[in-house]
Symmetry: D2
Subunit: 201 residues, 4 copies
Amino acid sequence: MVRNWKEYLLPYHQTVDELLVKLNSLKQQFAICDQHNPIQTVTGRVKSVPSIKEKMRRRYISPDRLSQDMEDIAGVRIICPLIDDVYFLVDLLRQRTDMKVVEERDYIKHQKASGYRSYHMVFNYTVQTIHGPRSLLFEIQLRTMAMDFWSTVDHALHYKHEGKFPVELEKKLQDTARVSFDLDESMSKIKHALMRIKNKK
Amino acid sequence: MVRNWKEYLLPYHQTVDELLVKLNSLKQQFAICDQHNPIQTVTGRVKSVPSIKEKMRRRYISPDRLSQDMEDIAGVRIICPLIDDVYFLVDLLRQRTDMKVVEERDYIKHQKASGYRSYHMVFNYTVQTIHGPRSLLFEIQLRTMAMDFWSTVDHALHYKHEGKFPVELEKKLQDTARVSFDLDESMSKIKHALMRIKNKK
Amino acid sequence: MVRNWKEYLLPYHQTVDELLVKLNSLKQQFAICDQHNPIQTVTGRVKSVPSIKEKMRRRYISPDRLSQDMEDIAGVRIICPLIDDVYFLVDLLRQRTDMKVVEERDYIKHQKASGYRSYHMVFNYTVQTIHGPRSLLFEIQLRTMAMDFWSTVDHALHYKHEGKFPVELEKKLQDTARVSFDLDESMSKIKHALMRIKNKK
Amino acid sequence: MVRNWKEYLLPYHQTVDELLVKLNSLKQQFAICDQHNPIQTVTGRVKSVPSIKEKMRRRYISPDRLSQDMEDIAGVRIICPLIDDVYFLVDLLRQRTDMKVVEERDYIKHQKASGYRSYHMVFNYTVQTIHGPRSLLFEIQLRTMAMDFWSTVDHALHYKHEGKFPVELEKKLQDTARVSFDLDESMSKIKHALMRIKNKK
């Protein structure tokens, strides 16, 4: 087992700190260039030790496989106004030379049964420690504001309610997932209609 | 007219910096106390000089009345998961002894014609400068994630589209405002149903 | 004894965070006003739990007297170029309306036997928590860069050397304290000579 | 000439922001590993536009050679307790894989006529912009606290005193440079004496 969690997680904290600066800098560049800003907010966190342990049990991850098999110990979330923005950023992230895509999962086109939607990317990244360079994995989740709204409230409701979640309420929650999905669609349609008008001129 | 904008805006920047630390500290306290967190994100900004000038013209604000009549030169936005959270925070903010409520406007109960919803509070606040204490006004806008989604996309679409906005698209945007309003309502209903189940036990 | 240290120290962390923003804002104001900047750096820290416990034992502080009797749980340090800057800032801090001086100790005019010099101020400060306003004590230490150099190296040397410190080296360290004191004096003399030349013109 | 300075300097601001996070992370690693910390403070700045223009004139740098010939548009300063710490960090920086040394100048062994001492390193660094990767130069200055004290006060005195600096005061300033150099030497001697005692045991 990991003996000193504080030391073990240090490079992951470093990774999240560096990514927050790097991705917020992208946001600022879009703002200054006076384009539409595809980035609304960037947040990050290192998984807590209890959550890591719980996930190791659930997924049968052995301690010596932890850094290879748990890809979201360091995690960053990018919230975008619209769905187009998500795919635009996915492309931009793929072209970076300071992090390398290892895996992608598109839970927007293939949403989970619960109603959850997001685009997940796993990257390989190198931090410089006092003992030299060190490579590790981290995850970026990209989602629209409507997806983020739904999953935040979904999480808050399930979290508050220990024990079994009533079936009829679970169903109502899935209805709201569908409605927020429709909102993204409607907004995109309005945006594309506007772009057609603009291009005609 | 204001001669040195950089110097004029300095206490407003100081105000926003202090408020971001203070309100993010509230968020962190809720997180540690393991309660439902009514605060999702806190952001802040000082109005840009062109925006200040434009608003002075539009609202007929004379330079010598600027600091009294423009209440949102320093502005902070608090995004909450649910509507209940907004009113809970409004109450908490009213009880603070480091800022004093000067005005409140409830654009949630009384939404604007455009579909815009938010709760606005104006406060009096004192910063300590190198020339002694200085009082000024600032504004806090509180809204749910669904309201924030709508107004962000609404802003992005209008911003992109210089010139007249087509009537049928404006109508569709108002439909989306209604849908996102319904989303807040549905989520609140699920939450209250859960609380009734909990209290019965 | 304190049951939950994380919760107990939360308002102290909040205090340090707010003070760092407030005092760095002073530094920035001096920089923009293009005056001589009396502030070189501002740093802050909350005392670690082991250090708090060790000091409670050493000073016979009972748990129920902790918040009144230990004044430096939250601590901020201001480093100034010259001695005049220290006293100028002491005066400025006394005039603030957001913190109230409770005690002052001038270890510059009355240096400790070890050679240590600094100006200590204890303040009463109110933070706003999710349970309402809360008053507490914090300490500001002001010192020149030369004083800071000496006490940092003094600390590093003693820290590295567990066990008894050889008498002849202790003596040499006190020599360096005297030399760094003389450096402050010489720099002040040069500064005052320059000011006399300036005023003659 | 550069048309839009704000846009031109954006990647330099990004560089300084990333370096501050990276180098402060090193400092934190040393602190957690409970070793002697060779890093006291890390600061950074982007050169102001007036300073860039002034240096272009003074050094005959043409606008199209600006990014290659001015190496300190982005600059970071690392302050160390002792001289050994400076050379230890120089070595550590040389081994990083995220920045590449282009040039080194040792103004500690070869101090300037004015009394100025510091170790300068120029690096090549790549930032990721919204238009793809972009390479640029930046400078790190490493110095002890005693060197930093001297050069800060030296700068403040010259800055305050427009016009010719009186010869006898210039001489006294050079005396203080010598004294602060001796301080570094004395501290190093005490440290090495302590290490010899330790190793004998």
